[in-house]
Amino acid sequence: MGTVQTYDNNQLHVEVDAAERAVTLRFLGKSMLREPGEFLLPLLLKTLSEAIDGKKRIVLDFRELAYMNSSTLTPVIKILERARVGKGEITLVYRKALKWQDISFSALVIFQTPDGRILIQGEG
């Protein structure tokens, strides 16, 4: 495990774990913000930029997220698309055994790339 920083906003907590080969963002709690993009998008863009410079993969880990509103998906979609058409490697991990996560996140497979730069993975 590398350096871990925590970002909190209301009931949503994001742990950013910067290791040697990857930067993992763990999403915890509930995401019910009115404008989640104001909180998440700057964090995601900064992480993407730094990960590209450091040649690291970003892991977006939603497995411990208990609830999210639909607005939370907007910044996630935008960062996946930005990496898909540009640079960067992102793995999005969700908990397949949780039906709401499986339904919500598995649809993001449309942003997956054949070369594996963008991966959408259901686990557990």
């Binding site: 607005s71 709401w100 339904i103 919500s104 449309i110």
Partner: protein, 162 residues
Amino acid sequence: MDTELDLRVKADWAEMGRVNEEAGGFLAACGLGAEAVQMYTMVVCELVENAIKYGVFVDEEDRIEVHVTVSPVSVSVQVTHHCQVTGGPALGDLDRTVQWLRSYQAPFEAYVARMKAISREPLDADKSGLGLARITYEGRALLDFYVDENSRLSVSAVSSLV
């Protein structure tokens, strides 16, 4: 036998935590499984979020009314609040979105189409428009709405349990 929940919600985003907790607690008390509780809690919360965002609240005492009914065969959620009937964009947007959702044979297709549209929007465009698509796809619900003679908009989402 039907079991019902009525909530009166202030048009304040700080209320969303309470709505989430009370809807989830009610649905669990009705004997629904964990997956169904999460699914229909999402439906309630998405509809209340839309009400807070797009409703008209002039009077301090104005409240969003939430009515949830669980029967042996369905879960029904109705959210009611004042709206701007003429000259306001919200009602027209709602009508267009519901018609657009109905134009797809499968809710999944509408959900994916909306995600693709979001991916093409500028970074600073903050309106997702994904909530209603999520209700029909993830919540497997039929959406409808009407406006009564007092300019109160009722949006309903009905999901079959059978």
